[in-house]
């Protein structure tokens, strides 16, 4: 019996495609974000509010992932920016190959900001690099403030945590301070924003973050 060291990353093929996407984004000056949350935390609505605030000349494009339906693409297309739906037909996450395939025949030279909405899931999208500059995790206050401890992988890798639906705080037993502490336990470097897509509170902070991060 021989023990042969191989030292291969299991997702090496995904990482290879992600690296080539990242290189292409860099070459073309595209800034790319990967938005991850559980289903119903408000990813699509945050994107809608983001698009609402953009002028028509903004060079933004979106990819939105779901297991079935193109409902999200239809919602997002209303703002007049290019949108493509990635329907995974069962897969619980996006991978780099899906992103690569859905960017085909798109005029990448006309895109400055690429927003990718992942499939609603706090676990599986964590492992798959999409070539993005940063992962953003969205946690709504109708979930639990201990989610960062229960799903440490995504909070560990995200650059920013957005606490959404803060207009509902009076009605739910969600401890904002505890959620912040828990996120910082698994990722001392994580940045945190609080907002409500419904009332608009905190959206200025999100837009400022996005603006600043793109220019970094």
């Amino acid at each position: 019996m021989t023990k042969v060291p191989v030292e291969r990353k299991v997702l090496g093929e995904n990482d290879r495609i992600a690296a080539s996407l990242r290189e292409e984004f860099h070459r073309r000056g595209i800034f790319c974000l990967n938005l991850i949350s559980s289903p119903g935390a408000g990813k699509t609505m945050l994107l809608e509010k983001t698009l609402e605030g953009f002028s028509r000349t903004e060079r933004v494009a979106l990819l939105t992932g779901d297991i079935q339906t193109d409902n999200d693409a239809q919602r997002l297309a209303r703002y007049g920016f290019p949108v493509r739906q990635i329907t995974t037909a069962g897969a619980c996450h996006l991978d780099a190959r899906m992103v690569e395939r859905h960017l085909e025949n798109w005029d990448l030279g006309s895109i400055g900001l690429l927003l990718i909405e992942n499939v609603g899931n706090l676990v599986c999208p964590t492992s798959y690099d999409l070539g993005e500059h940063a992962k953003i995790v969205i946690l709504s206050v109708t979930e639990g403030d201990d989610k960062p401890l229960k799903y440490p992988g995504i909070f560990h890798r995200a650059e920013l945590m957005v606490l959404s639906k803060i207009d509902l705080l009076p009605y739910v037993p969600f401890d904002i301070a505890a959620a912040r502490d828990n996120a910082r336990k698994v990722n001392p470097e994580i940045e945190i924003l609080e907002l409500s897509n419904t009332t608009g509170e905190g959206l200025d902070g999100w837009r400022a973050w996005l603006d600043q991060r793109r220019r970094r």
Binding site: M1, E7, A91, P152
Partner: protein, 115 residues
Amino acid sequence: MHELGIAQSVLDAVTVELDSRPGSILKKVGMRIGELAAVDSESLRFSWECLTRETPFEGVALEIECRAWQRRCRPCGLVFAVSNFQTLCPQCGTEETENEGGDELDVAYLELETP
């Protein structure tokens, strides 16, 4: 939930390795999985069994080494395992520590019967 996809990627990686070693018979796959990799070992083993059933790899074991989340202290250089989310350096108490591992998802080695 995505362990079946991960198991397929393990199988792909192993197949590529074996292609360059004709005549070798695979006996065991050694993996390294970090506690922050968001991959469940038991679920991965089960997926591997399902994928390899009635194939030449049926019965090949997955040996999984679980890796703790580690941080490195910038001032004193100590590398330490984070337990109970304590990321302060246990030696000098500073907060200036950075990630040093814990999100691994690697095929580390193969055990082969060689011709």
